[in-house]
């Protein structure tokens, strides 16, 4: 009977060995990398990281830079519009698709296919369609309406909306699919009950179905939001930040300062601000979703 209790470290040893890549990724890259960047955002690193701490100097400079302010403003406009519009369009499309229509698969395939394309491809196509000379503006002018102006990519005031059009084209399909999954997840007896009670369809959607889909809405919102913060490729492809600096975004600011501006400290400070923005969105969500519960 006297055999020693096995060392707990070796219980499920194989599982632990197999999880080493995951543990390294989580601890070294995600935790370690983030901590490293945040730490070095307080240094005056230029071409190479160095440990000369200068307090909040990088942040002060960041918030005094016009390009950063423009980036933030653009991200806010793009973010709010993109969230509201993609939720709205996505939900309406999903509700239409949920009317037991024929050719549902065809419609879904068409609306979702842009999501399979990269932001680079998306940006370049829309750059072409919005080309003032040959694109929509050119065609309308060609039809005789000479004064017609629609050149979002060349107008600093509205360039961000030109990017928004492309972003929505690429992303609403996903929102629609998520919403449709949410609608399908609703107990069909709710609809039967509403029909027996004589509640009109729009009222059922507004007062019964949408409140029931709250978790789906929240999850979708978090997905859209975390995608918005990463907005980069689309801008690079469609406008390269132009005209001037009118369509700059934070992610591009970070990249440019880190890899071509030789000003790492600025890049670190800017990326830390991005992290902060994400935390403001994610932490309350995670708290609401998983707070108190152990399961992730």
């Amino acid at each position: 009977m006297a055999h020693a209790r096995p060392n707990p470290l070796f219980r499920n040893l194989m599982a632990k060995l197999a999880a080493i890549p995951m543990i390294l990724t989580a601890m070294v890259v995600f935790v370690g990398g983030t901590a490293w960047t945040v730490t070095y955002s307080f240094t005056n690193s230029k071409l190479l990281p160095r440990e000369k701490f200068v307090g909040l100097q990088q942040y002060e400079r960041l918030w005094e830079t016009e390009r950063w302010m423009v980036s933030i403003e653009n991200l806010m406009i793009y973010g709010i519009c993109s969230m509201v519009l993609s939720l709205l369009i996505g939900f309406v499309l999903a509700a239409l698709m949920d009317q037991k229509i024929r050719f549902e698969n065809t419609f879904r395939t068409i609306i979702l296919y842009p999501f399979a394309l990269s932001f680079i491809v998306t940006g370049l196509v829309w750059q072409w369609i919005l080309n003032p000379e040959f694109g929509i503006q050119g065609i309308v002018r060609g039809m005789g309406w000479v004064g017609f102006t629609f050149d979002p990519l060349y107008n600093a005031q509205i360039v961000i909306f030109g990017i928004l059009i492309a972003g929505l084209w690429q992303g609403t399909g996903l929102v629609m699919v998520l919403m449709l999954a949410g609608l399908r997840g609703i107990d069909q007896e709710i609809w039967k009950a509403a029909r027996v009670d004589g509640i009109p369809m729009w009222k059922t959607y507004l007062f019964i179905v949408i409140p029931m889909m709250r978790p789906v809405f929240i999850t979708t919102l978090v997905i859209i939001a975390s995608g918005i913060v990463k907005l980069y490729d689309l801008v690079v492809a469609q406008t390269s930040g132009g005209p001037g600096i009118a369509s700059e975004v934070p992610a591009k600011y970070v990249y440019d300062y880190m890899f071509s501006g030789q000003n790492l400290g600025q890049g670190f400070a800017a990326s830390t601000m991005m992290l902060l923005a994400v935390l403001i969105v994610v932490i309350p969500w995670a708290y609401l979703e998983f707070g108190g519960k152990k399961r992730v």
């Binding site: 009977m1 209790r5 096995p6």
Partner: protein, 361 residues
Amino acid sequence: MHITDPSISIRNLKLSFGAVEVLKDLDLDVAQGEFVVLLGSSGCGKSTLLNCIAGLLDVSDGQIFIGGRNVTWEEPSRRGIGMVFQSYALYPQMTVEANLSFGLKNAGLPRDEIARKVAEAARILQIEPLLKRKPAALSGGQRQRVAIGRALVRDVDVFLFDEPLSNLDAKLRAGLRVEIKQLHQTLSNTMIYVTHDQVEAMTLADRIAIMKGGQVLQFDTPHEIYARPSCLYVAEFIGSPSMNFIDGAVAEGIFAAPVGDIALEGYDFAGPPGTGPARLGIRPEHIASGPEAEAMPVRLETVVELVEPLGSDTLVRVGVQGQSLWVRMDGQAVVQPGQALQVGFAPARAHLFDKATEARL
């Protein structure tokens, strides 16, 4: 009951998940070749206990012996057990034959020996024609036979069954129940069988362990458990419909209740008859009605409240002094709600429990 050479013995077993104690200091001895049923409602810890015996859950404290060997930290495959699961747990991508031989292959047995054992198990369970099929092509009953076969080929002393019949329909269940009993008689190895179905427990078991809250409340033969439940919970749990209870107090061989004083003549007290608040239990099938009630030592004048004809029997709820009692009557009995009915029972067949400790008096 003391067992000299136990097949399985469990000593001070504890298991907790975080702060939740699932098994509390549990002891159990199972004799060689015994058929033991772990019975309880869901969440009582019966499946957890079985998983601990199988080695599929790590215990927090205590010891498990199988065949005299301490297997507390042993791998499941080295404990000398075979296990049958509720969902059959057949490997869907393998044929029946491959399912049966998977464990033997892992144990590194020679090919011809595997073939011999698989053929033997298939013969016993009469599943030879199914060997080349995939589980998806089998009926529920056939699947469960294959699952039993998988335990059978392992040539082990102990079989563990985790609610093996719960996924089957009622008719198949009764058939397979008989087969399992027959199998036990043929093989005569130790079997531990988890179920929440008291009919399965009563019919199959040599002994039943009734569990609640991670503890064994009573571990006894089916007859004893039915006739002398050791506590209020067991009394309530066993029997369908369940036992009637009357609240009152016991003093000097008299049970005083709102329905009247009941003299406990012929009642076999578990210890010295005490005094104090108590509950008296009587099973519906032990309450006589009509002319038969005349012969009973205790008689009550009641009014019929509700009638539930079941065909073979008729269940009748009667009321007396604000107390409701269920009475099992013959299926042919003609009773109407509102009708007066005399019922009676013998205190010898009643059960008395202490109101506070819930233990049998």
